[in-house]
């Protein structure tokens, strides 16, 4: 058995002359929960539709279990999709919806009945067989859509922002439910979202996309702690994104203040992007930090305060559990290993830091 269940190789796709995906390659392992994450219009849905077979790539190939399925029509693929707007058939009952794929495959009635029962149990909607989709809430409809897909025992389940239309509380419940489902079913999930928190909580692997390019592939921890470029750093969580100059290995200068860091190999006197997470900026007594700053705003965020402080010409975002008054004069300190150095972007697409 191959390690990779699905491979996208050098996929290029344009719509009406507009390049949507360019030279995209991606390997997905068996049983992985992979999330495609990126801002609106970056090509997530298009990627998913190429995998499902609704869209043909202009170039490149799609391999399922090592077999080329690039031109295989949707209905012949062992892949099922959960649509963002549920797409339940309004003229059928819940049971008929779930049975749809099995009926097409000419399974016998007993098997279908069992499958419906099993699927409804799995999504906690036992007893809903005779209901019409219109009479269900958004969350219930979404669960039926999931049930309808999984009874077909797909090798891969595609989910395109399945929780996008739900309110926050329901979304969090459904996130847990999806993780449980994934464990129970033991199949590969490819999930699309533009919600970075959702991606961080649910995924084994995150694929960060922007403007048709993959920016970074990695575990949630990798992506959060070691963003490869300023776009990823900015998109995943909040961050202080700064322009700096690498003076030499392990020493970076930001607005003419020198910071010790741990990164090497960027060359001498090279402009770089610097990321410092707000929880990594420490507030210290006067005289004990690297540079002085003045608190300009304080916001209570539930578990922490979000403080903004101005120092060396930069508005620093700081997350801390200790309260500081607006106007307080403080010192700021950052541990060397909490300073992330990144190369300046090669293409303009990636540039999110405007150097002043």
């Amino acid at each position: 058995m191959l390690e990779n269940i699905l491979s996208l190789n050098n996929i290029t796709k344009s719509f009406d002359g507009e390049l949507v995906l360019e030279d995209l390659s991606l390997d997905i392992k068996r049983n992985e929960f992979v999330t495609l994450l990126g801002p609106s219009g970056c090509g997530k849905t298009t990627t998913l539709r190429i995998i499902a077979g609704f869209v043909m790539p202009d170039q490149g190939s799609v391999l399922l279990e090592g077999e080329d399925i690039t031109t295989l029509p949707t209905e012949k693929r062992c892949i099922n999709t959960v649509f963002q707007k549920y797409a339940l058939f309004p003229h059928m009952t819940v049971a008929e919806n779930i049975a749809f794929g099995l009926k097409i495959k000419k399974k016998d009635d007993d098997y279908i009945r069992q499958k419906i029962k099993y699927a409804l149990e799995l999504v906690n909607l036992t007893g809903f067989e005779k209901r019409k989709p219109r009479s269900l809430s958004g969350g219930q409809q979404q669960r039926i859509a999931i049930a309808r897909a999984i009874v077909n025992e797909p090798q891969i389940l595609l989910l395109d922002e399945p929780l996008g239309a739900l309110d926050l509380k329901l979304r969090q419940d459904m996130q847990k439910e999806l993780i449980r489902l994934k464990k129970e079913l033991g199949i590969t999930f490819i999930y699309v979202t533009h919600d970075q928190e959702e991606a961080l909580t649910m995924s084994d692997k995150i694929v960060v996309m922007n403007q048709g390019y993959i920016q970074q592939i990695g575990t949630p921890e990798d992506i959060y702690n070691e963003p490869q470029n300023a776009f990823v750093a900015d998109f995943i969580g909040s961050a202080n994104l700064l322009a700096g100059t690498m003076i030499h290995d392990e020493l970076v200068s930001i607005n003419d203040v020198r910071f010790d860091c741990v990164d090497k190999g960027f060359g001498n006197n090279k402009p770089v992007d610097v990321v410092i997470r707000p929880e990594d900026v420490e507030i210290r007594e006067k005289g004990q930090g690297i540079f002085p700053a003045v608190v300009t705003s304080v916001l209570f965020k539930g578990v922490h305060y979000e403080i903004f402080a101005k120092g060396i010409g930069i508005d620093w975002m700081i997350h801390t559990t200790a309260y500081h008054e607006v106007g307080a004069e403080i010192d700021l300190y950052v541990k060397p290993f909490n300073i992330q150095i990144m190369n300046k972007p090669e293409s303009e697409d990636e540039a999110v830091i405007q150097t002043e």
């Binding site: 499902a52 209905e75 099922n80 058939f89 309004p90 749809f100 897909a149």
Partner: protein, 271 residues
């Protein structure tokens, strides 16, 4: 309070031009020339000549409705498939004939189909002997289809276009082939459009007399023609009204039936 007055013009209109004529028709239908009550005018539909006309009317209307359906539904499917921005133009072309006077259209059709008409002229170029199409039931059905097709196309086109693309993608995703998608998704979801198309074509066909008159050469008697002759030639308003009334009963029964079907569909649907 004021809302009542808003409806007033419509109520006056409806009384004057719908309810009142109906009452007149009913009055004539149930009375004889002397003014006494009778059912003779209604039961007259059962005499052999009228039965023959009724059955022929039903047959031709049915044929026309089926033909319209067979043209409209695939057309709607094709238009849905076509990734065109100017679908409107095709629809415009399809309904353009509606803007021309119906009798004029039918007269034009008479010229085309006639013995020395354009159709036979074209056929003769290919060495095909002239066909006698005019004055046959076939010509009448042709005329009806030509005249009433837009009333079938529009509701079906609208219903088919209203179907969310996601539903079709979902069906394919679950393994449905194209015919399966049409049969299991598109057809049931456009049922209401199809029913309204059928109603809007079948009923005018059943009552039409101009088309059979012109294209049937006065030799083929449909129920509409019989009624027309009672009113205009025989000046027997009582019999004409009675037959009209009987026909109306047919139509109402048909409508109630389709309405029931519609309700049932809305509530539950078997697979």
């Amino acid at each position: 309070m004021k809302r009542k007055y808003i409806a007033a013009p419509y109520i006056i209109w409806m009384s004057a031009f719908i309810v009142l004529p109906l009452i007149f028709v009913a009055y004539y239908a149930f009375t004889d020339k002397a003014g006494g009550f009778t059912l003779k005018n209604i039961t007259a539909i059962l005499d052999p000549l009228h039965i023959k006309a009724t059955i022929l009317s039903l047959e031709l209307s049915l044929a026309c409705t089926i033909l319209c359906l067979l043209i409209s539904f695939p057309l709607a499917l094709v238009l849905r498939r076509l990734n065109m921005n100017n679908k409107g133009i095709i629809i415009l072309i399809m309904i353009l004939p509606m803007w021309m006077n119906s009798i004029l259209r039918i007269l034009a059709l008479q010229m085309i189909l006639s013995k020395n008409g354009i159709l036979n002229m074209i056929l003769s170029w290919f060495g095909i002997a002239p066909l006698s199409i005019i004055n046959t039931p076939g010509a009448i059905v042709f005329g009806m289809v030509y005249d009433f097709l837009p009333y079938m196309i529009l509701p079906i086109y609208n219903a088919v276009m209203d179907i969310d693309n996601d539903l079709i993608d979902a069906a394919k995703d679950l393994g449905a082939s194209n015919p399966s998608v049409i049969w299991r998704i598109i057809l049931p979801l456009s049922k209401l459009g199809i029913i309204s198309g059928i109603t809007m074509v079948f009923i005018p066909c059943l009552t039409s007399f101009v088309i059979p008159d012109i294209l049937g050469g006065g030799k083929i008697q449909l129920l509409g023609n019989v009624i027309e002759q009672e009113f205009i030639t025989s000046m027997n308003w009582h019999l004409g009204s009675g037959l009209s009334f009987a026909l109306m009963i047919f139509v109402v029964i048909g409508l109630v039936f389709s309405e029931k079907q519609e309700k049932k569909d809305r509530e539950s649907l078997v697979w």
